[in-house]
Amino acid sequence: MRISVPHMGNTYIAFKALFKRLDIDYIVPPKTSQRTLSLGVKYSPEGLCLPFKLTLGNLIEAAELGADTLIMPAGYGICRLGYYAKIQEQVLADLGFRNAEIVEVGVTEHKLTGLLTTIKRLANDAPWPRIIAAFRFGILKLYAMDRIEQLVQKVRPVEKVRGGANRLYADAIKAIDAADDARSLKLAEADYTARLNAVERDLAHQPLLVGVTGEFYVLLEPFSSFDVESELGKLGVEVRRRLFVSGWTRFSWFNWFRVSEAARIHQAAYPYLKRDIGGDGWESVGEKVLHAGEYDGIIHLAPFTCMPEIIAQNIMPTTKEKIPVLTILCDEQIAKTGVLTRLEAFVDLLERKRRTRSAESTAVGS
């Protein structure tokens, strides 16, 4: 049995750690590339969204390498995601990968227990303590990567020489990947945290603060949006994002943690959108309302034809809390120059807004 899981950001590192500890043969799908996208587009029904196409591309490329057990998230009452696995299994079968079996992992019910039972089954019924230890190690890696990423988000806009933070980030991910036990993981994280903190900063630069929100897959898979966050960093803008893989695991697997932030976001959205509409539409509206006073602007990322985000997009302009929002729809037609031009224009707009605001406040002061 050779297992594979489609990519989403750096999650493969956590899976690698988990499966290695359990001696499960795990195949990392080739890094998401233009080929992945082309394969996904070619074999997807035309009306589907980018996350489907990219994950399908990953699954095909993994199957080409001999993976026969493919793990896909599933569930119900979410959005199209819950139906992905059914179709992807048929696509793979029609392509001739007769041995490839898709294992659905529910993200709506059983959550943590469902995932752990699946892992236990894949690990040939290894004893529970071993499963839990391996799982914990994978999660630790996720947390370490997310903490590093949060730091990178802060360093990128203020570094003196552009690109340094990104290079360190890539190295840090490699070091975390290489760590074999909790101790070396801790050391790697501490090492790169120190190095990132030591990056020479432009102290005079006051970065604009932009929130990135929207659908979780396009947010967490930089390939789908040409790494918008990194591009914003190059423009000297600090990026904030609520959604991290580790946060998401807490959110939907360890349900008892979800009290604080999600509830606050839903409460903020309530006057404009009263209920969960599947996907992340409710959260997108809520984040706009909640952070209108705090951020300078919001970038809203959504896959093309994503209904929950379309509803959010229709509702967002009508909220009382005003803040500029730029929606970027991601699909295979998106072009890098197009995205960059729009980002630059958006950042210009935010800067001008900030200048007029500060001019007004000095005028009031004098």
Binding site: P45, G47, K86, I87, G281, Q313, N314, I315
Partner: protein
């Protein structure tokens, strides 16, 4: 007191239920007129371009009701069966309407989610009724009468082989006693596309004029539809999956010459469900299948050409073996 009901989305499924319920409560029901080009254009102008056709159409119908009623009834049907949920657009509909159409009459929304228990469903419907009457008994009576009307409506369509507009007494009477049909074509898809004469370009009457017999998902019993869903995908994921996967699986298994799948551009559930039907058609090699995607810009001539080609193809397939013999 007048309640407006947009002639879009769930109208074709539940109108008899809602009308009976409201009328039992002494409320007058106003339905928006059949779709026109202007209604669709006005609805589309209120939302971002990516919004799906049925949602744009729905907003056009709400606009047509502005000024004609005291409130608009927009139910949120989250789930009608255990663990089978509905598309996002139905869940966000009341809020999207409020945001996109500020001049809309006040929106009455009620959330139907069977997963929370039947008691909760009744409670939601009870609270809806409290807007109009204080008598709990009257609400209960209206609720029962509504469901009776609904069951009767569904049963009648399956029994008498009627489409929803025919059962609602809106459709033109079908030409009776004519020569036997050249071929039988099943239309599968959501009622809000199939029976909206404007967006579907009068698909049904066109096919009938071409000498075809048209059958629709409503003409199959619920048990048969559910059975077909189970055969094709195991367990239904979407509410109304039976209208697409169920009806598609049922008709592809026999009884018709061709199946036409109607879907709207940008429809999330349909993009997956229609693919299941298409793959099944390719595997079964029985009835022929054609997918037809509708959107605001679909040109009538394009639709007509494809229908003609499809009907001709069915005809040729029927005649081919005979021709070979001769």
């Amino acid at each position: 007191m007048k309640v407006g009901i947009p002639r879009a989305l769930l109208y074709y499924q539940y109108y008899p239920l809602w009308r009976t319920y409201f009328e039992e409560l002494g409320v007058e029901v106003v339905v928006s007129p059949p779709t026109t080009q202007a209604m669709l254009a006005q609805g589309s102008a209120r939302v971002v371009a990516e919004t799906c056709l049925p949602a744009k159409l729905f907003l056009g119908h709400v606009l047509a009701l502005a000024g004609k009623c005291d409130s608009v009834f927009i139910p949120v049907v989250r789930s009608m069966k255990s663990k089978v949920y509905n598309c996002s657009k139905f869940l966000g509909l009341p809020d999207m309407t409020r945001a996109a159409i500020p001049e809309s009459p006040p929106v009455i929304d009620v959330e139907i989610d069977i997963n929370k228990g039947e008691g909760k469903v009744y409670q939601a419907i009870y609270e809806l009724g409290r807007n109009f009457t204080s008598s709990a008994r009257r609400i209960r009576r209206a609720y029962r009468a509504g469901w009776r009307a609904f069951d009767e409506y569904r049963a009648r369509m399956a029994r008498e082989q009627l489409t929803p507009p025919e059962a609602l007494g809106e459709g033109r009477p079908r030409p009776a006693g004519k020569a036997p049909a050249r071929s039988t074509i099943a239309l599968i898809g959501h009622p809000y596309l199939l029976y909206d004469e404007y967006v579907s370009h009068r698909l049904i009457s066109r096919l009938e004029r071409a000498g075809c017999r048209v059958v629709t998902p409503e003409m199959v019993s619920a048990e048969q539809l559910d059975g077909a869903v189970e055969r094709l995908v195991g367990r239904a994921y979407w509410s109304y999956e039976e209208e697409v996967v169920g009806a598609g699986g049922h008709y592809l298994a026999g009884g018709v010459d061709g199946v036409i799948g109607i879907m709207a551009f940008g429809c999330g559930p349909d993009s997956l469900m229609m693919d299941v039907v298409r793959r099944q058609a390719a595997r079964a090699r029985g009835a022929l299948f054609m997918g037809l995607t509708l959107e605001e810009h679909t040109a009538e001539a394009g639709v007509v050409t494809r229908l003609e080609a499809f009907v001709d193809m069915l005809q040729r397939k029927k005649e081919a073996p005979a021709a070979r013999c001769a």
